[in-house]
Amino acid sequence: MFSSLKERTGEVLLPGDEFSFEAEDTISLAGPVKPEKVVCGPGLRRSGDRLLVCKSGVLRHKQPNMFWVDSQQRRYVPAKGETVIGIVTVKSGDVFKVDFGGSEQASLSYLAFEGSTKRNRPNVQVGDLVFSQFLIANQDMEPELVCIDGSGRANGMGVIGGGGLLFTVSLGLVRRLLSPHSEVRSDLQQLFPCELVVGMNGRLWAKASTVQQTLIISNLLQSCDTMTAQQRRALFRRVAQGAL
């Protein structure tokens, strides 16, 4: 199965395509036998002894044995450990309700901020933007967010300050921005200095030195979602030369 998955890496797959153990999979009696393990990511589901594709997209592979389907969508489904930008909607007692663009609102305890105790409550109002990560995020329970990491430090999370602009892009662009050697990020760095908070729910918060530059950045990112690499580089070059 590993070999058939490896063959089709980079191909576009549709829901209903499946991978199964080939009949020719033989175990050699001579050398040591290592069970081949395949780690399946989003878009691939195990059904008995077959692997089913459940989303349309491109099959990707990461060494040594991780496979997943890279699909484009705009609607976010929460996953544990992902950092998102949420908007505080309700402040009731000890818990804030945060809207992150999913099917239900997440809860954020007031104690889940750095340095907050029962006497020292954090300064969070309804309508504030919070950058936090999911502590509990599965289909059966209400999602829960926290603004501290395992050791109790904020690590960049918490309430996002004033100024700046919040806008939405597709989930694919967000993943491209956050990947290690991101071309979009390096193109953006050559424009003008700005502060960018990237939430995996497709929400971005940008702040540059003037309002005009902030708007330029938000328009650029929203439009380069559907562009090829050449078109994007040409657009950024035009902006850098001050054409816009």
Binding site: P15, L52, K55, V58, S71, Q72, S103
Partner: protein, 195 residues
Amino acid sequence: MWIKAKKEGDTSVLAAAYGPAEVKVSKEIYDRATLEVLIQPKVGLPSVRERSQEQCVRETCEASLLLSLHPRSSLTLILQLIHNDGSILSCFLNAACMALMDAGLPMSCLFCGVTCAINADGQIITDPTAVQEKESRAVMTFAIDSTKRRVMMSSTKGSFSVHELQQCIAVSQEASEKIFQFYRDSVSRRYSKTL
């Protein structure tokens, strides 16, 4: 969410899929997603005909979507009729499948709709126009799945023999190959642009 326009002859339909989103407590199901299909006719308000078409589309979608992955959420599918020149139910089915697949909703298989009409001479016509449908003695629509090419849903009108029904199913299964190839080509084209 995504919007798709599907043409068959001159029949065109615009499909939009939303979800997983919040659901009203009265409509929520504890272990799976609630699928709502809304068919809007070109003029006027939806009537009984639209409701029965909605039921056909909804049953097919529920059979192919993995609804248990999003309990207590709602998936909404809105199909707007733009022009009706025959084979409308199969057009709805094709547009619905493409919209759901494009929106990234998890599906166990794809489906497509094929309409067959048997005219007065006993000939089988696929994807009939409105004029051909009116002159035929039977019109049938089948939803075919992509993995085993089985019939998921059938909606028939008129009089026909069992033998003719089986012939129409065979013809529809053959025609579904072209539609699934079209799905594959459009999705490949869509993903060819991204990095």
